[in-house]
Amino acid sequence: MSEAVHARRPGPRAWLKLIQAEAKMVTRDTAGLIVPLGLPLLILVMQGISFEDLGVEVAEGVTAFSVFLLPVVVTMVVATIAVINMPSFLATYRKTKLLRRLAVTPASPAMVLVAQMAVSFIQVLLGIGIAFGVAMVFFDADLPRSPLVAAAVLLACCAAMYGVGMIVASISPTPNSSVAIGLIAFFGIAALGGMFGPAENLPEPLQTIGSWLPFGASVDALQHAWAGEPVDPKNWLVLGATAALGAGVAAALFRWE
């Protein structure tokens, strides 16, 4: 005969507490916020003051600055948080047995993963908000002509970048290796996706590779949303497939300890 215990999963209060805890961990690690919030802003400002023709209208009511630069900055914010920051938190939690500690409570370690993603998404919105605020005030940036499409692309970009982040977290044995692999993955996809200048300036084979990677696909899709043009289905495919691949790799390889 076993004990009469009613199995009870942690409720909304537990989720809220865990998200608050993760948010406090992130905000109290101020150094970790510099890259995702500062680097995109730096690129935005430096590119904004370096090119004179960014104020030229490339579509009705939308400048070259908005169409070509803001999609890169938005994608950078998402990629730095999802590909570099989130995996390093998970790798640290794994190394210090924090996930294992949670595994012996009614909370599952998967709750930490979800809470991390929620906090990361808040960081994404904050990073985009700061970048967009600076762009509006100092560079007369325009809102996307297709805002709903832009929002959908942003969500697809987040899913794809979290997918890449989960691959990084799955294959990294230590927190240091997580940062190293995350940085390599970030700069690899970003360089081919137009972070250091228009992807069109790259040799054609690299352009093709970049267009099949999530950074390039996100930038291209956001550029079309900003210009009010339909998004190439290939970009949706790339972002969706990257998210699915990341989930699959994580399911197969991610270890809580």
């Binding site: 004990e3 199995a7 009870r8 690690d29 009614p106």
Partner: protein, 248 residues
């Protein structure tokens, strides 16, 4: 109508854990009564931690079965998590959170948790409530870990290497906390003889993944014809308790 007998707090039957090139646990069976403080004693590498990880449902046994208050920790995980409190060896917590924030976080996981102030008072950390976990001393971290293991009012508590690395004063404070647990069944994993002798009703001596002997500390001393539990351990295992530095 006759009442059905209550299951023991813990019943582990013929637990075996094999890895590729090593058998960490080789047929351990334990039965711990409700309300008992039970010590598992052995050198590093003896199989103590692997045994309790199987009991806690963290590591699936290669062979054998475990029941906690009659519940299977692998198939009835959600139920077991509510009645079990665990303090893991070397486990870390969210380092940037304060003691109070951690207590609040862990309280949220349980249906009927201890009051936060009560939990901090129990381990004498009220004055450290606003101190970040990273800034606590080793003893304070350990006491907070105990508070978190007890926060859900568990019926069974597993405490692994409770006082390793603590100074004598910190050890005594931790012991006092354990001695105050009158209602719970406690499994204490240690290689500190004085700790086991002071806190445990019964002890199992484990070596090379097997139970060599079990009984009250007095019975073990008597069995080995030894004056102290440490002498009994040496006589029964042929090893010095501090001698082996292998991974457990």
């Amino acid at each position: 109508m006759t009442e059905k007998p209550q299951p023991p707090a813990i019943e582990a039957r013929h637990l075996v854990k094999r890895y590729k090139h090593k058998t960490a646990v080789d047929g351990i069976s334990l039965r711990v009564a409700r309300g008992e403080t039970f010590g598992i004693l052995g050198t590093n590498g003896a199989g103590k931690t692997t045994t309790v990880e199987m009991i806690a449902g963290l590591r699936k046994p290669t062979e054998g079965s475990v029941r906690i208050l009659g519940l299977d920790p692998f198939t009835e995980r959600a139920k077991v998590r509510q009645i079990l409190g665990v303090q893991l060896q070397g486990a870390y917590l969210h380092g940037s959170l304060t003691a109070r924030e951690l207590v609040d976080l862990y309280r949220g996981f349980y249906p009927d948790p201890l009051d936060a102030d009560e939990a901090l008072t129990m381990v004498e950390l009220t004055d450290k409530a606003r101190t970040k976990f990273d800034d606590l001393s080793g003893g304070q971290m350990q006491r907070l870990s105990i508070a978190l293991a007890l926060i859900g009012r568990p019926q069974v508590v597993i405490l692994d290497e409770l006082t390793t690395g603590l100074d004598p004063r910190a050890r005594r404070r931790v012991w006092a906390t354990i001695e105050s647990l009158s209602e719970q069944t406690v499994i204490l994993i240690s290689h500190a003889m004085d700790e086991v002798e002071r806190l445990c009703d019964r002890v199992a001596l484990i070596d090379a993944g097997r139970v060599l002997a079990h009984g009250t500390p007095g019975q073990l001393r008597e069995q080995a014809g030894a004056v102290t539990l440490e002498d009994a351990f040496v006589a029964l295992t042929g090893k010095d308790i501090q001698g082996d530095e292998e991974e457990d």
